[in-house]
């Protein structure tokens, strides 16, 4: 590491990464203390509600993974945590779908936000996989039924040999390690992209004489 007399690293890779990070996401964009006026709507809260539900999902899932199936099927606390995990997942998908609808109808990929939209879509797809392997990891009759039904579908598209839904160990590893890591990574990228590009503004009103003009909206969007 190169350290100059003034104490500021100029040529080290850590300094270069820090400078790049500050250039792309300065602190005022990463942790803003105010938002544009159009964000004052309930329809904008479903993204953060989804993240809040995800935190509960992961927290309850960590406890379930540490304690194991015998605990979550038998003990009262285990049954409670099992239900917390299930219902936080239900809320996670509920909020995510409403968030998806809201962003679709306001065309949230406008203003160079294509990757924000894509990472959100990928997070949705990976979450479906995580939920599916979660159903397979329950260790009860429902999981056996889901697995026996799903194996035929997966075999028919030729991936049953690599993704064996009848193998509890494989499905459990997908559910508690690989897919959660994928979801957290994609959601983190999604949130950082939202911070980088800002929350997408609504469409301009066309029939109102007092509305913001389309040109002004384009400039604000970065179009």
């Amino acid at each position: 590491m190169t350290v100059t007399a003034g104490g500021s690293e100029k040529r080290s890779w850590t300094a270069a990464v820090r400078r790049a990070g500050l250039r792309v996401l300065p602190p005022e964009k990463l942790l803003p203390d105010e938002q544009p006026v159009y964000v004052a709507s309930w329809v904008y809260v479903f993204g953060v509600l989804t993240v809040a539900a995800l935190i509960i999902v992961i927290g309850s899932g960590v406890v379930l993974a540490l304690k194991g199936p015998a605990w979550w099927h038998v003990s009262s606390v285990g049954l409670f945590l099992n239900s917390v995990h299930l219902w936080s997942v239900e809320l996670f998908f509920f909020f995510m779908v409403v968030h998806l609808w809201a962003k679709f109808f306001m065309a949230a990929w406008r203003g160079r936000r294509a990757m924000t939209w894509v990472t959100g879509a990928v997070a949705f797809v990976v979450s479906i996989g995580a939920a599916f392997t979660g159903y397979l990891s329950q260790q009860n009759f429902a999981s056996q039924w889901v697995a026996s039904q799903a194996k035929d579908g997966l075999n028919s598209v030729g991936i049953g040999a690599f993704f064996n839904v009848l193998d509890f160990g494989q499905m459990f590893t997908w559910h508690v390690v690989l897919l959660p890591l994928g979801i957290v990574a994609v959601v983190l990228a999604h949130v950082l992209l939202v911070r980088k590009h800002g929350v997408v503004p609504p469409f301009p009103a066309r029939d109102s004489g007092t509305a913001v003009s389309g040109d002004a909206m384009g400039e604000r969007d970065g179009r």
């Binding site: 709507s41 329809v43 409403v98 609808w101």
Partner: protein, 54 residues
């Protein structure tokens, strides 16, 4: 279908109740969640946000 019947239909502890129109079939529980999501979506757009300045 009465109120109690609807609650029983979307309950998760018994046999699932299905509704169908022609080829389309869906469990009452899943239909209830979709209707609830639509309702929340409409309310999120229609209900004013507290403290909004305009």
């Amino acid at each position: 279908m009465g109120g109690v019947d609807i609650i029983l239909a979307v309950g998760l502890n018994g046999s699932p109740y299905y509704v169908h129109w022609g080829w389309f079939q869906i469990s009452a529980a899943n239909l209830a969640v979709i209707v609830l999501m639509l309702l929340v979506f409409v309310l999120a757009i229609a209900v004013p946000f507290p403290g909004r300045r305009r």
